[in-house]
Symmetry: C2
Subunit: 353 residues, 2 copies
Amino acid sequence: MFQYKEIQRTPLEKLGKLGLIKYLTQCISVTHHTTVKGIGDDAAVMRFANKQVVVSTDMLLEGIHFNLAYTPLIHLGYKAITINLSDIYAMNATPNQIIVSVAVSNRFPVEALKTFYEGMMRACKNYNVDLVGGDTSSSNTGLVISVTAIGQADEKDIVYRKGAQVNDLLVVSGDLGGAYLGLQVLERENEVFKVNPNMQPDLVGYEYLIERQLKPEARKDIPELLKELGIKPSAMIDISNGLASEILHLCDQSQLGCRLFEEKIPLDPQVLTTAEMFRINPIIAALNGGEDYELLFTVPLAYHEQIKGHRQLSLIGHMTTKEKGAQLVSQSDSLIPLTAQDWDTFLKKNPTS
Amino acid sequence: MFQYKEIQRTPLEKLGKLGLIKYLTQCISVTHHTTVKGIGDDAAVMRFANKQVVVSTDMLLEGIHFNLAYTPLIHLGYKAITINLSDIYAMNATPNQIIVSVAVSNRFPVEALKTFYEGMMRACKNYNVDLVGGDTSSSNTGLVISVTAIGQADEKDIVYRKGAQVNDLLVVSGDLGGAYLGLQVLERENEVFKVNPNMQPDLVGYEYLIERQLKPEARKDIPELLKELGIKPSAMIDISNGLASEILHLCDQSQLGCRLFEEKIPLDPQVLTTAEMFRINPIIAALNGGEDYELLFTVPLAYHEQIKGHRQLSLIGHMTTKEKGAQLVSQSDSLIPLTAQDWDTFLKKNPTS
């Protein structure tokens, strides 16, 4: 569906492995003061003085996590970085470095990989992180990407999933369900395209959803905002698997229950209209859709006024004792136990063409 | 060929993703004093005080880097860890933590993954590192493993590839070519097995080579030994792609040439006899075979006597000015320019069945 298929095609064999790595990494320079040594040795070297070091990793596989029929490689590169940075922000830490491993089959021309790296570098620039190392190898099948993000924070600032207290407010940034509905739109247009390759994809009116799916941002601004407001969350997690699953993680690790109010879940107007068109309950998209990469956190009740007033933050519920369970309070005031999606979705997250 | 195929088979779906992660990680505890938080949050957290932090990563793909027809999963788990630790030792640093991402197709039963994790945990125990995080997802094809190793060292102790000086001695630990020949033996037996599945593999007399291929160790002892001897290498690298390729890295990054003496390259007797049987030049196996995970380093000439006397170390050559090039001095005293293997091998490293 997208234009990267039309670019020049230099086979990988022409460059060789070392040539390929040189070509892909020639524009990469390290600028962060915590980076001592980037690409080019057995390992990257960093200095963090007395900070604590925070490390997270994600693996993305073609056909499972992305479909190249409708995912431009420049966005995929960008997304591979931002979804990892999201985990570092969810610790209330600052990401500084990224390490990337890529496995490619020789159906990828050099130019396609270059585009993918450009997307990664754009994210690195926007979030002020250095790409400091990685591994490149071949794959018999599709593209495999593994990204490790390294960040740091003062010990006193780190926020875990486990710190929530009874009566803490449950807060989420931005809005939810968009990435999942963006995926539905892209899947639909891809089906149309497969039947008639001359058909142009009809993406008008879905721009926000598609951007949420293809080029998500990490909520760098939220920890900064909370710092400005003088708020340290008691627990925090990023929303990669859907609101329900993440709330259950906070409850589980904090040994608490919660009340989540259906009517408070933030939904963009495009989510509402598109969900209606697809006959999907937008609340289900928010609860189980995943890939929104918003931050979910708890704060003491005392911060109610400050949270309430901020347009980037939604107060969606509060924590209870464990015995009360993790419950969704529906618009009709009935209690519905929250459940996380599991293996089914895990095994077919992004259906492939 | 191996027994892990006969174990109990519980399908992955039965446990679900969260259940699987719980099952696989239930026996994992963190013990290292630098580990603050292991598995179970958005990121792992570590404290290294004023040490520098060293991070390295490797990706292993089924059909490219390993063939499950003759690779027991317990050894694969062990190897996935040790080859990463090898990179940390090559920086003269100490590994403390490991982060592992695994993607599996549902043809793997839960028990197979458990065995794989047991192999990893055995390596973690032997090398005193904590498994502190990772990612688990599904794969449409084979098993994909990505390991990131995290270590630390005092700034003054870290050894890069670039520090070699003219006349420095070129030294290698252990012996070379074994892993490559082990692979040849396993490939041959696998071919026999495919023709006649009742045939038992004939591995007698190749034990050392097969262990080198299937269950390599990282040379933790070498940095320790060098410290005892009061020697800090001027440059160091681990041998993952063959001696020739690694020497060229040291030359390139140190802006030097070298003389490598063919007769000095350490070869185990099993390498010699097996190479003869396969009609492979054992020197080529050492130069281009790869996967030996020995350490290659340079030291000032002054350490000649100390190095010479140690049975774990072989003095194989010396560094020269860049103009003299990187040359192999053959047994007949002729000079042969060193060249690294490249894309061909890269695209078919471990041929699959």
